[in-house]
């Protein structure tokens, strides 16, 4: 755990600060009262399903949409209604939006040319940006002569050459195939460390967000539900949606009995910490890899459990996923594929168990 989570957001001027930002398109609320601070130098991911408002949020930072309400500051300067050409930010668009009638070199030089940077300086900076993304030798190509990965690099170079204070990336890896995407994840992360610029990227891919981001903001239906490091979000989701959206999870319906006890839907009281009022409907979030599995009579004394029938076993090679059916819930248990150990057969009664620190209680 290197620098994750120790950004002192409030002590320095935030790179991007949204205060009570709302965006409406007619009667549709695309972004609903969002507060967000992104620190200088941070690699921040806006994560959510399509239509959740993450792209609209990004476009408001870029200046391609203006907020209906609220304040948007970029390094302390109010920028809510500035046109995009007057903001110190640049964008890597989803399909890269390279100018098809220009060469790679002209694409990269475009921003500098528009800013009337001196010719000799443009040449140097363009070369620098092109070598930063390792595209030397392709300067005279046009975008249709490039592969998807190369286009992505041109888009990056075209934005970074302007030395923006914030780089915005709209699903930057969405158009690439899986292998290339995984490669580029690492490259983007390394690139961000190298240039030290604040990166804000939008993605619907939770794995991408977990792998790349210093912090993640999870959005749904226009609301920003939770902001935190990947570990915080994965281990302490604030509600059912976040728990479900980030990684695989089992959610057991329950209600709060006291601040350290919840009542599962089957009527059993189990320990579960929460600061929600008594009676609140909640879900106990149990990650498949944190659940244990034992014969019904062999559950260790320090663990809670529920008993169900083993419905199926999915063989993944490095792991096995057991699906256990109860009359009120269906649970998945993931076990590393180790020799020996408990290997129940389909149809047998099994106990799915957990320790207190393996679960989190989230709002339903």
């Amino acid at each position: 755990m290197s620098d994750r989570g120790d950004h002192q957001v409030s002590e320095q001027i935030a790179a991007v600060k949204l205060t009570a930002i709302t965006k409406r398109f007619g009667s549709v609320v695309a972004v609903d009262n969002v507060d967000l601070e992104i620190a200088d130098g941070e690699f921040f991911a806006l994560l959510g399903p399509s239509g959740c408002g993450k792209t609209t949020t990004l476009r408001m930072v870029a200046g391609l949409e203006f907020p209906t309400e609220g304040s948007l500051k970029i390094f302390g300067d109010e920028a809510g209604t500035l046109p995009p050409n007057r903001r110190p930010v640049n964008t890597v668009f989803q399909d890269y939006a390279l100018f098809p009638h220009m060469t790679v070199e002209a694409n990269v030089a475009f921003g500098l040319k528009m800013q009337r940077v001196a010719k000799h300086e443009i040449t140097g900076r363009v070369q620098e940006a092109i070598s930063l993304v390792r595209l030397e030798g392709l300067e005279q190509r046009r975008s249709r002569q490039l592969s998807g990965g190369q286009r992505q690099r041109v888009a990056l170079a075209r934005a970074l050459v302007n030395r923006p204070k914030v780089l915005l990336l709209d699903e930057p890896l969405g158009a690439l195939d899986l292998k290339l995407r995984q490669e580029m994840q690492g490259e983007l992360k390394a690139l961000q460390r190298e240039v030290g610029i604040t990166f804000v990227f939008v993605t619907h891919d939770q794995e991408e967000a977990l792998t790349m981001a210093d912090r993640i903001g999870v959005m749904n239906e226009g609301e920003l539900l939770q902001v935190g490091t990947p570990a915080e979000i994965y281990e302490h989701p604030v509600n059912r949606f976040v728990a479900n959206f980030i990684g695989q999870t089992n959610l057991l319906d329950a209600s709060v009995v006291s601040n350290d006890t919840v009542c599962l839907a089957n009527g059993v009281h189990i320990p579960g910490k929460s600061d929600l009022p008594v009676g609140t409907r909640v879900a106990v979030c149990l990650r498949p890899e944190r659940a244990g599995m034992h014969p019904p009579e062999g559950v260790p004394a320090d663990q809670q459990s529920v008993v169900g029938r083993l419905e199926s076993v999915t063989y993944l090679g490095n792991a096995l996923v057991y699906t256990v059916v109860l009359d009120w819930v269906r649970l998945e248990v993931r076990r590393e594929n180790q020799p020996g150990g408990y290997r129940p057969h389909v149809g047998e009664e099994v106990a799915v168990s957990w320790t207190l620190d393996a679960i989190s209680v989230v709002r339903a």
């Binding site: 200046g63 046109p83 050409n85 640049n90 939006a97 098809p100 528009m114 800013q115 249709r144 002569q145």
Partner: protein
Amino acid sequence: MSSTVQPRGTTKIALTAHSWLVYLFFFAPIFVLIVFSFSDDNNVGRWGGFTLEWYQDFVEHNQLQNAVWVSVRVALLSTVISVVLGTLAALALERFKFRGRKVFDALLYLPIIIPDVTMAVMMLLFFSEFFDLLDAWFGLDLQKGLGSITISHIAFNISFVSVVVRARLAGMSEVLEEAALDLYATRWKTFRYVTFPQIVPGVAGGALLALTLSLDDVVITQFAAGPGATTLPVFVFGLIRRGVTPLINATSVLMLAASVILVALSLAFQQFSGRGGRPSLRAAREAVSAPPKTNTQIKEGINQ
């Protein structure tokens, strides 16, 4: 080549014959026209030996020459203006959302749909009323002529230009313009460096179409023309009534040639735009067959 969808036997013969007949029907009149424009006989349809006399007549005929220059001036002026206005209209309809957009959109097609004669009568009425009004207000004595012809040609050309330009704009992603704005371009520079280069084939195609339509128009021009000026097609139309000589043939051949050249240019431009990057594709293939330096090449280099 002998796939099952290819016609065979008698079907094939019949279809081939049919195609040739259609083309014969198209081109026989043109061929006859061209042949008889070289006929040394005052009668339009009688062959009297080869001569270039009618072409000489065309060059020396003062009124004809006047009409040619009116035509050229009207065509150029109306093309330039309608290209600017038509492109602006296309941009507005394709890129902006505004109140009454759909109505404006529908109205823009009107000049394409309504019959020429109707448009011509409209123009006639419009100019007589409008000129009366201006004469009364400003004490002028306006006459129909070059100005009124040009205006009427602009009126129908805008529609054609905007349809052609819109087709091009629709195929161009708006994100490109957003990208330009994001890269510090002003609205004008975005248009100048990104939008315009993308739609230039459409604009050029629209311009050539407008030029052709303006040069060819008879009906509307006839109603909008005055004693002061008349265009070539209208003048030729008048010649017919005064007795026909092969001068008309020669004039028609020249007009035909001009139109064909313009249409060919227009098609060439649209072809160029449609394919987008044939030459570049070739370049890409060449580039792929000779990549900058692959890993294996580098390794071989080390081994040597």
